[in-house]
Every structure is written in structure tokens, then in C-alpha cells.
């Protein structure tokens, strides 16, 4: 009878466990490597037409191809800076007719050829009201997409404009018609295909463990060349700070953005990490509600007054809070724009920080501190307003407090309304606020986002404060539609921003500069600012830097 005392049993069990620890590893050469990406958000569905989450874009980018993609320059005007993907070439048949010739080598990951019918089907899906794609409005200038033969597809536009090519290729990822044609359009939102997609890109889907990770594997037969990194794994965490900590602890290899100066300092000082700064796509601002909260027919009792808004902008030192919150990781924008936009121009006229002029203007408007409590008042009413801030954003909460203090010195009382994001968004859309601290994530071009946020076209949508100046609208229309060359467009945009800044519909606080961090064993890391993993196919781990994790076989 063997001796089965508990300690011996435990030792035996541990021995069995260790004995079953199979040896993994073995991959050598140029096509090994595993990239673990720490991500704070999880995709909702891996189906590009029905999701605009940033993590969905990141994960689906290597699975589904576009016809052509934006070049590193980020130039959205014309077609010269775009790189072929599914389309090997293209030509203009007429000023409003664009013909794409598909690469005959392109294949879906189930072996079927990618055809022109897939492209026409994709356009049909993206523009179908039942599918409700968030990109539908971006395709409004395309009147039809038809097939000429199995590898030729024709785009027809309603009018000629500078970013026709961008609109044709940037928003749509081509979908497999043979797998999705039978799917009822109102079921795209939650189809099982979206949790196990079949694509045509350099990586194929392997697994999705809800709340944990998504794994993609390199397609060794990819027609544009075998990807160097064999596996991409997104590791999901509840918040950004945990993601950064995972990176620093070596549990992950890369992160899109480090956000705070403290994180940047820690990551960039880490000998195993390399930092990659790139232009950010976000800008943040205090937006004034120009109409009465909840009643768009009446002007706001304070912010309906252009001079008062101007006084508040003049009273705001935007550099100091920016330095406190972001350090070197952001710039004060010359208007409502991200650093990503090609129209970024420090020469644009804006209201300066001038507290003396602000005080004079407020006094001229009748706002004086009559009772000596430090807050200006007029006709028995104090100069006070509420600032709507989402609790989910630490940066915006920090900014709100700094601004509150800064306004107090100008004799303006600001009360903070800190609410969770869904309440923030609901109140913003309904116009139930005095002012809000908002952030916009922009496309690579101002042509799509700007009209939605700062012209009449955005009423009831993203123009929460209902700012409207017909001259600004006209200039924006001219910039978007008649921009045959960049200089002409730039002039029109500059005039629009000049005018907008003089109207002071908001205080434009920051435009972010991103810093990504990637483990140093990865070489040839190139980041395209509008989509940081767009070029991941060319990243690689040189054979002499491979670790056990890179070599592991499954």
C-alpha cells in the first residue's frame, strides 16, 4: 500500500502537472513573432459596415481590405498618395466616373476569388438604410457602383470634388458577397459572422474570447506578401491605465496611446520599449450652447451674446492647463481641429489670451462685481454657468477644475455637472446644457467631420451648441466642394476658421499628440496617424530578437 499522506499527494500532483508541461517553440526565421496589443476597449462586432469603434477598426484592418488605402502622407485630396490594396490600378473614365481594376490574385480566406460583385455588394450594404452603417453619409456623393466584368468595378459620383477618391476607398472595407448575400439586412447588426469573420486581408480570424482577447493569424498565402508577424493578439482591459501597466510589466508588447505625460515618461524610460510619437486625431474644447437649454427657439441667456463669449475666450489662458494636463503631448489648436488635418495652420487668426481686455469687455457689457463677492453680476443675476463634463474622462475632469479656477479669477462662477458618459451624450444631443467639455475624434480630412459639428448641417447631430454663421457655412461648402487644389482649399478653410474664431462658439483647448509604445524587439515599426496598425503587415521581429513567446507553436 503506497503512502498517500496529503503532502506527498500534493507533491505528486505538482509533478504530474509539470510533467505535462509540453515544450513549445520552434518557429525560426523572418515570419515568426507574436504581437500582443493592450487595448482598453473591446470591439462590439468584427463587421466594419456596422461598427465605428476604434478597436473594431484596429482588429478588422488586417482582416478586410479596402480597394486602396491612404498613404503615409495622409493626403486625402486627389488619388496620387493612395496605395493599391484590392485594386491593382484605377483610372478616371470621366470627371465623375472612377474605374477600379481588381488584383486577380486576391482571394477570400475560404479560397473564393475576390470579384467586382463583392465591391458592388459592399457599396449596397454600406448605403442600405436597413443596415444603418455609420459610414452611410460619407458615401452620399457616390451615385452608383456597378460591375463591368468580374474584375472591373465602376464608381459614379454626383459631382466633381477634390476628395472623390478618398470617399470611394477610405470608408468601405470590401465584404464577401458569397458569404453574406443571404443575410437579411436588418440582421447585420448582430450576425454570428461578426464574431468569426472571413476576410481577404493579411491576417485571418482565429478566436475571440469575450472580455479577454482576440487572436488573428498571418495568412501565409496573402497575395500582397506574407506578413512578418505570425500572430496578432489584442488583450482587453477595463481601462487605459491597466493597459499601460500590462505593457510596462511585459504582459503586452504594444499600446496605441500612452495618454498622460507620466505614462510616457515611464514607458519611454523602459529599456525594453520604444516610443513612437504621431499626430493625434482628437481635439477638445469648451462648447457654448448658443440656444436656451432644452429650447432651441430661444437664445441662451448668456451665450446667445457673442461679446460675452468672446470675453470668456479672451479670459482663458489655454497654455497653462494644457501644460498641466498634457505636458508636451498636446498643442493649443488654432480652432476646432485635430493635428491630423492637413489644414492645421498656426497663422489662423484667433482670440488671444488677454485678461485685461476680457475684464474691460465684461465691464462694458454690464457684468461687474457689485457686491464684492468676487463674482460679476448684472441686473441682480450672477455671471454663472454650468459646465457638463463626463466622469469617464479623467483628463476632462482635470481640465474642468483648472478652468473653473481660472474663470473664478475673472469673476465668473462655473459649476461642474459631472455625469456618466451616456448621460453626457444624451444631454449634449438634446441641448440640455450651458457649456460642455467635449472631445471629437476626427477623420483624416475636415471635409466630413467639420460640417457635422460646426455648420447648420450638424443641427440635431453633432453641432451640440447650434453654432451657425451663414458665411462660415458658405466658406466650408466652397472648401469642400471646389477644392481642385490644396492651396485653394486651404485658403477657404483658413477664412472659415478665422470667422468662426471671431464668433467664439467655444474655447478650443487642446489637440492631442499621441505616443505609442512598442516592444523594442519589433523592427520596421511604422505608424500611420489615422490608423496606427494600418501598416502592421510590415512590422517584424528579426530572427535574433525572437523570444520563446515569438517562437511558440500551437
Amino acid at each position: 500500500m503506497p503512502d498517500l499522506r496529503p503532502t506527498r499527494l500534493v507533491a505528486l500532483a505538482a509533478l504530474v502537472l509539470l510533467a505535462s508541461c509540453e515544450r513549445r517553440g520552434g518557429c525560426t526565421g523572418e515570419h515568426c513573432g507574436t504581437l500582443v496589443i493592450a487595448a482598453a476597449g473591446e470591439p462590439d462586432i468584427l463587421l466594419p459596415p456596422v461598427s465605428e469603434f476604434a478597436t473594431t477598426r484596429d482588429v478588422t484592418e488586417p482582416i478586410f481590405l479596402k480597394l486602396a488605402d491612404l498613404g503615409l502622407s495622409g493626403n486625402t485630396v486627389g488619388d496620387e498618395d493612395f496605395q493599391p490594396q484590392l485594386a491593382e490600378r484605377w483610372e478616371w473614365d470621366a470627371p465623375t466616373t472612377l474605374v477600379f481594376h481588381l488584383d486577380p490574385r486576391a482571394r477570400w480566406q475560404d479560397g473564393q476569388a475576390v470579384t467586382a460583385a463583392d465591391v458592388a455588394f459592399t457599396y449596397d450594404v454600406y448605403t442600405d438604410s436597413l443596415v444603418n452603417s455609420p459610414f452611410r453619409s460619407s458615401l452620399r456623393q457616390i451615385s452608383a457602383v456597378t460591375t463591368r466584368d468580374s474584375l472591373t468595378v465602376v464608381f459614379r459620383f454626383r459631382q466633381r470634388y477634390a476628395e472623390m477618391f478618398y470617399d470611394a476607398v477610405y470608408h468601405m472595407r470590401i465584404m464577401p458577397a458569397h458569404l453574406l448575400r443571404e443575410l437579411p439586412r436588418d440582421q447585420w447588426r448582430s450576425t454570428p459572422f461578426g464574431r468569426a469573420p472571413v476576410g481577404d486581408g493579411p491576417y485571418r480570424f482565429v478566436s475571440w474570447k469575450a472580455g479577454q482577447s482576440i487572436e488573428l493569424a498571418a495568412d501565409s498565402t496573402f497575395f500582397l506578401g506574407r506578413p512578418h508577424i505570425r500572430r496578432l493578439i489584442w488583450r482587453f482591459t477595463p481601462d487605459q491605465q491597466v493597459a499601460v501597466t500590462q505593457l510596462l510589466a511585459g504582459d503586452a508588447d504594444a499600446i496605441e496611446v500612452l495618454i498622460t505625460p507620466d505614462n510616457v515618461q515611464r514607458a519611454c524610460a523602459d529599456p525594453k520599449l520604444a516610443c513612437y510619437p504621431y499626430k493625434g486625431s482628437q481635439y477638445g474644447y469648451v462648447g457654448f450652447n448658443l440656444t436656451a437649454p432644452g429650447d432651441t427657439t430661444k437664445p441662451h441667456p448668456l451665450f446667445g451674446d457673442r461679446d460675452l463669449r468672446r470675453a470668456l475666450v479672451l479670459a482663458t489662458d489655454r497654455e497653462r492647463p494644457l501644460h498641466n494636463v498634457f505636458g508636451e503631448l498636446a498643442r493649443v489648436p488654432p480652432g476646432p481641429m485635430s493635428q491630423l488635418w492637413w489644414i492645421w495652420d498656426p497663422e489662423i487668426r484667433e482670440l488671444p489670451y488677454d485678461s485685461a481686455q476680457a475684464a474691460r469687455l465684461l465691464t462694458r457689457l454690464g457684468w461687474i462685481d457689485s457686491n464684492g463677492d468676487g463674482i460679476r453680476d448684472k441686473d441682480g443675476r450672477e455671471l454663472t454657468f454650468r459646465l457638463l463634463v463626463p466622469t469617464t474622462s479623467a483628463i476632462r475632469r482635470q481640465y474642468a477644475r483648472l478652468l473653473q479656477e481660472s474663470f473664478r479669477t475673472a469673476g465668473v462662477d462655473v459649476q461642474l455637472d459631472e455625469v456618466d458618459f451616456s448621460v453626457f451624450n444624451e444631454r449634449a444631443r438634446a441641448g440640455r446644457f450651458d457649456a460642455l467639455l467635449n472631445v471629437w475624434n476626427t477623420d483624416p480630412t475636415p471635409s466630413s467631420g467639420f460640417p457635422q459639428t460646426w455648420t447648420k448641417a450638424g443641427f440635431g447631430r453633432s453641432n451640440y451648441g447650434r453654432y451657425f454663421n451663414p458665411q462660415v457655412d458658405q466658406l466650408v461648402d466652397r472648401a469642400v466642394s471646389s477644392a481642385a487644389n490644396r492651396d485653394q482649399a486651404r485658403r477657404a478653410w483658413r477664412s472659415a476658421f478665422d470667422l468662426l474664431n471671431q464668433d467664439a462658439p467655444g474655447i478650443f483647448l487642446f489637440a492631442t499628440e499621441n505616443v505609442a509604445a512598442v516592444n523594442k524587439r519589433f523592427a520596421d515599426v511604422t505608424i500611420r496617424p489615422d490608423s496606427w496598425l494600418a501598416l502592421v503587415r510590415s512590422w517584424r521581429v528579426p530572427p535574433d530578437r525572437l523570444t520563446d513567446r515569438d517562437r511558440v507553436e500551437r
Partner: protein, 326 residues
């Protein structure tokens, strides 16, 4: 006994129904829209209108409730707005993780708590008892999320002894299919289970110490000593066996603590269980996931108590007699 069990089951169903109803109305009354997630601010008003209609949220609240209960009776928990999948699938993914975490925590809670309680009782009013008693009180009064953050900071971030959250190494152990991956899983489980288990263990130790001291003064223990039995045998066989009876109730009571504690611990350790799912769903106003999580949690709590009560009643006939006479 059967009548008693039937009455208890009926009461349990009524409790779960009450929790579901309350959760349904409270989450629907909360301000904010489920179709305006933080990640996609540019959803058009038309899209929101269509989604509201598709999910039947344009109907009256009572109509929605009636529809929800009807679907629930058919086993349909609805579809998640944010996850774009059936709620039942999302819960099925999450429940095993919470269950494993709760079981591991329960194991730590009872083994550590029991051992400490016995040790303290044996060393009553000596230095060991006093020190451990104060430590237990300190740990017991700590919020679980705070303890979790401290453990994470010290053992994972500073000492690199444990991973920063998650359930497994996604590179080496995508599946728990080898001995190494079992160890990897246990390695990931350690800190969250310790966080949840240690706070409970501190309470269990205090409870067990009191129970042991009460039993040790009984006459049958004195008789055992008088018969000349060794101290070790008196404590571990005669006293402990009787002092363990209230433990059955404690198991039932531990469930609500573990499940509510899991909400915070899962968030701190990125443990993909029901707690994390529920927290995200609340923030995103994902009504059916919140209600589904409430159903599962309340069912588990009620079931835990029901089992504990039933076992206790089976072990102690006085309970049944009292119920009958009432």
C-alpha cells in the same frame, strides 16, 4: 420536510421575480441612452430612432416589461445592445469565470478562516490571539477593491510576481489544455481569489473563534478531558465537529458577499466574469444584460441560501419543528 422545501422554493422564486422587476424598472429609469456609447459619438439621430424601434424601446415601459417577462418565460433573455449578441451567450461566457473565482475565494475563505479561528480559540487571550484578532478585524474592514489594488500594486506591478489582470496568458495558454496552462491559470487566479477570499476569511476566523470558545465550555468537552483525552483530540474532534454546524449557514451567507465582491474584484483584475460584464452593461445602459446579470446573481444567492437552509434543517430537526408550529 417536503412541504417546507416547497414553501422555500416558492419564496425563492418570488424573490428572484421581485429582483428582476426592480432591476428592470430602475435601469430603464436611469438617465442616458443605450445607443450612444463613448466609442461612437457620431451615431445619427435616424440610426438611434431605428435602434429604439428595433428593440421595442419606443413602447410604454409596462409593455416592454410584459414583453420581457414573456420572453423570459420562454428562456429568452433578450439581445445585448452593446455586445451585439444574445444576453444568454454573454452570460454563458462570463458565469464560469465568476464561479471559478467564487469557489477559489470560498476555499481560501474557509480554510484560512477556519485555521485562524481554531488557532485563536486555542490561544485565547494570548499574544497570538490578540494580534491575529486585530489583523483579522483590519482585513475584514478593508474594502475588497482597495485590497485588490494594493495586492496588484505590490505583487504584480512592483514585484512582478503575478500578472496584471486577465485570466490566462493569451500567447502561451490560449486554452487550458496542458499542465503548464493549468499552472498559468492558477497563477492568474491567485491575486483575485486572495483578494476576495482574505476579506471573507477574516470574518470567518472571528466567527469560528467565537463558535469554538462557546463549544469548548460545554460539559461534554469537560467530560472528554476528564476521560483523559489529549488536548489536540479534544479540540479537533470533539469541539471542532460541533462548532462546525453553524458553518453550513455561513456557506449560504458567503454567496452574496462573494458575488457582490466579485463585481469590484473582477473590474480591478480584468477578470472576465459576470461582475465585469454587469459594470460595463450598467455604464452602457445595456438594459437586458443588466437585468440578465441580476437574474443570475439573485438566483445564485437565493439558491445558496436555500441549500444552506435545507441542509441546516436536515441536520437540525428543531428548525423543522419550529417552522411547522409557526
Amino acid at each position: 420536510m417536503i412541504g417546507w422545501v416547497v414553501r422555500r422554493v416558492a419564496a425563492s422564486i418570488a424573490i428572484v421575480w421581485a429582483v428582476v422587476t426592480l432591476t428592470f424598472f430602475v435601469i430603464h429609469a436611469a438617465p442616458g441612452s443605450p445607443f450612444l456609447p463613448e466609442q461612437s459619438q457620431n451615431v445619427s439621430p435616424e440610426t438611434i430612432r431605428r435602434l429604439v424601434a428595433d428593440f421595442g424601446l419606443d413602447r410604454s415601459l409596462l409593455e416592454q416589461y410584459a414583453l420581457y417577462i414573456r420572453n423570459l418565460a420562454r428562456g429568452n433573455l433578450g439581445e445585448s445592445f452593446a455586445l451585439r449578441r444574445p444576453v444568454a451567450d454573454a452570460l454563458a461566457d462570463a458565469i464560469p469565470h465568476t464561479f471559478v473565482l467564487a469557489l477559489a475565494a470560498l476555499f481560501i475563505d474557509f480554510t484560512v478562516g477556519l485555521a485562524l479561528g481554531i488557532y485563536q480559540a486555542v490561544r485565547e487571550r494570548r499574544v497570538g490571539d490578540i494580534v491575529l484578532g486585530n489583523v483579522a478585524l483590519f482585513v475584514n474592514s478593508m474594502p475588497t477593491f482597495w485590497l485588490g489594488l494594493v495586492l496588484l500594486l505590490v505583487f504584480a506591478q512592483r514585484l512582478h510576481g503575478f500578472p496584471i489582470g486577465g485570466i490566462a496568458d493569451p500567447v502561451l495558454c490560449p486554452r487550458v489544455d496542458s499542465g503548464a496552462c493549468v499552472l498559468d491559470f492558477l497563477w492568474h487566479l491567485t491575486l483575485p481569489a486572495l483578494t476576495l477570499g482574505l476579506v471573507g476569511a477574516a470574518g470567518t476566523a472571528r466567527f469560528q473563534r467565537a463558535a469554538m470558545l462557546e463549544v469548548i465550555r460545554q460539559e461534554y468537552v469537560r467530560t472528554a478531558r476528564a476521560k483523559g483525552l489529549g488536548e489536540r483530540r479534544v479540540w479537533l474532534v470533539h469541539a471542532l465537529r460541533n462548532a462546525l454546524l453553524p458553518f453550513i449557514t455561513l456557506v449560504g451567507l458567503a454567496f452574496p458577499f462573494l458575488l457582490t465582491g466579485a463585481v469590484l474584484v473582477e473590474t480591478v483584475f480584468a477578470w472576465p466574469g459576470m461582475g465585469l460584464l454587469a459594470v460595463r452593461a450598467i455604464l452602457q445602459r445595456d438594459y437586458y444584460v443588466v437585468t440578465g446579470a441580476a437574474i443570475v446573481t439573485s438566483t445564485m444567492v437565493v439558491l445558496g441560501n436555500l441549500i444552506a437552509d435545507t441542509l441546516y434543517a436536515a441536520a437540525d430537526p428543531r428548525i423543522r419543528v419550529r417552522e411547522r408550529s409557526a
